[in-house]
């Protein structure tokens, strides 16, 4: 009991100091453009990281950012209608979507890299499963139906593969995860690219649809012989066994934050100097690159009509690409390669705030 007044005093002290600090920061923010709350909407995949960023940024700079994780499609729609200050998407906007945006040209700013991992349920198998792109595409096309198919066996010498049917599980809800996965299959398999193609929702030739990462993981966990795909962060946090995938350099790479960043580094090396960053990094060249990976983007108008908000938004993105990137790995998101983050900072300078660059 004797501690209580002390603890109370300490709490008050902390509260006061943090209060005064935010206050000071918000006044300084106010002096250079006004403390404006920004609103954004879009992708659910990076939401855990973004919400951490927004919380930290509000603490440090006193700028509040409201973000609704309503899905990439909703984010693109809302940005096009100018009901939010920025959007977020797991798939780059298509040309016709860009043309319909009411506020002019839109910049794509990659923030982190998402990787999609293959999860499976093969209790007999002791070592991690190895797969390559064409085999994976044929499993999802339904042309490889058994686990002991000669092509799977050739990739996994000495492995105890059962003679059971493969149960294919995919996402039933439209999602960026499906986009990355089908983008990869389209890149490695002509039959896939001329058949189902790539998209957040495609016409799956075979298999069951399950809702969300948790639905796919639940179905795979319950059914021996099942294979599915999920986000890296989800699979890591739930300790699901994941397959190593053969990359463009011919090595089998296990999914990880590092191998996803390596994919971005490999792809960044061959970017055109004037790229708009609407690029796919699946099946990326480069050593150690995990092949099923993609950027996730924050979308903003190049011409910010509201000067105060525009400045706040650019300030936030600058912070995200420098300080924010350092937090990504801890939350199982792959940070951008350093060189690329620097290029993006230059690109942010092309944003016109209230008519001036």
């Amino acid at each position: 009991m004797r501690l209580t007044p002390l603890a109370l005093a300490a709490t008050l002290l902390v509260a006061c100091s943090s209060d005064s600090r935010t206050h000071a920061d918000s006044t300084s923010a106010a002096s250079n453009g006004g403390s404006v709350a920004l609103t954004g909407a879009g992708a659910t995949f990076p939401y855990p990281l973004y919400s951490r960023w927004f919380a930290d940024y509000a603490n440090q700079k006193g700028v509040k950012i409201n973000y609704q994780s309503i899905g990439s499609g909703g984010g693109i729609r809302q940005l096009s209608e100018q009901t939010v200050d920025f959007g977020a998407s797991d798939a780059p906007m298509k040309d016709d979507e860009l043309a319909k945006a009411k506020g002019g040209p839109i910049l794509h700013v990659p923030t982190v890299i998402g990787a999609v991992v293959m999860i499976y349920n093969l209790p007999e198998l002791k070592q991690p499963l190895k797969l390559d792109g064409p085999t994976l595409a044929d499993i999802y096309l339904g042309t490889i139906r058994k686990w002991n198919d000669s092509r799977i066996a050739a990739l996994n010498p000495g492995a105890a593969l059962p003679a059971s049917d493969i149960l294919v599980v995919h996402r039933s809800d439209g999602s960026g995860t499906s986009f990355i996965f089908t983008d990869f299959l389209s890149a490695v398999s002509p039959a896939w690219s001329s058949g189902p193609g790539k998209g957040k929702e495609v016409q799956w030739p075979t298999g069951l649809g399950a809702k969300g990462n948790e639905g796919v993981a639940g179905q795979v966990k319950q059914t021996p012989g099942a294979i599915g795909y999920a986000e890296l962060a989800y699979a890591k946090q739930n300790n699901l066994p994941t397959a190593a995938i053969k990359n463009a350099a011919g090595e089998f790479v296990a999914p990880s934050v590092e191998s996803a960043t390596a994919a971005a580094a490999g792809a960044a090396a061959s970017l055109a100097p004037n790229t708009d960053y609407r690029v796919s990094i699946v099946n990326a060249k480069g050593a150690g690159a995990y092949p099923i990976a993609s950027f996730t983007w924050i979308l903003l108008y190049q011409n910010q009509t509201d000067a105060a908000k525009g400045k706040q938004l650019v300030d936030f993105l600058t912070w995200a690409l420098t300080d924010g990137e350092k937090q990504a790995a801890a939350l199982d998101y792959a940070p951008l390669p350093d060189a690329m983050a620097k290029q993006l900072l230059d690109r942010l300078k092309t944003v016109k705030v209230g008519g001036t660059a």
Binding site: G74, P196, K200, E201, K211
Partner: protein, 323 residues
Amino acid sequence: MIVGPRPLEEPSSGLAARLASAGVGDRVYRVAITLFAACVPLLLLLIAAEIARAAWPALRTFGFGFLTSSAWDPVNGAFGAAPALYGTIVSSIVALVIATPLAIGVAIYLSEFAPGWLRQPVSFLVDLLAAIPSVVYGLWGIFVLIPLLRTHVVPFLKDTLHLGATPLFSGPNYGPSMLAAGVILAIMILPYISAVAREVLLAVPRSQREAALALGATRWETIWGAVLPYARSGIIGGVILGLGRALGETMAVTMVIGNTHEISSSLLSPGYTMASLIANQFSEATGDLHLSALMAIGFVLFVLTLVVNALARWLVWRVARSA
């Protein structure tokens, strides 16, 4: 304008004044109430018009073929409602087949047989089923019902009862299926049907039962011959209420039905319903035609629900007239 008991010999002039002023109040009241009542059909019309407007591009592109096509290919812009329409109807029928006898049985027990101390708690528990959120049913479906169906119920149906050869139970048994969706829906609509049926049975006049018993009928004969026919139209109304709920249920069904665009005679194969299709795809749909096709699915569901409800009204009316 509260009119209390008045002395009989009130002067007639006072009465006239009261009537006149009540006339104004009555008229205002009447207009207000009419407006309130008009809001509901207006809202319905507005919803229908708005959905139809949004669905129009897809309906114009695909025409009547939208109802018969099995394609759902957002990449190439080909859409059809057939598998989802089929799944919506079949899963609801499965649910009704399972839930109706159960619910009526529960209602008969509670109204005719249950001792007084048991009636309230059991009624309460059955009603409580209606209060469980849909997503909880879905999770329970994934983690309890589907494993149970896969490891016990379906092997029993296939191997012990030899139903595997019939089209209804043929094909592989993965777990998520039309059957799983039907069972989940049955549990969800059971409280609605049984609550209505119970109230209707309790409202059957005592004289009805006493007359049958006095004629020497057994208890079973009394219920079957005197009580149930009297309550028939009300019970059918309850079943229709359950059907309406089954047609529109979204989240729990999405989680257990397997979400596959195919029409299969087997209840063990995965399927799709219109409500779950919209729920799955709306948030990430960006293409105009894709969005419009989802709206068209909503429009078809809307029309289906209207038709089912109209049919139900007609059925209740006919039963009530013939009784």
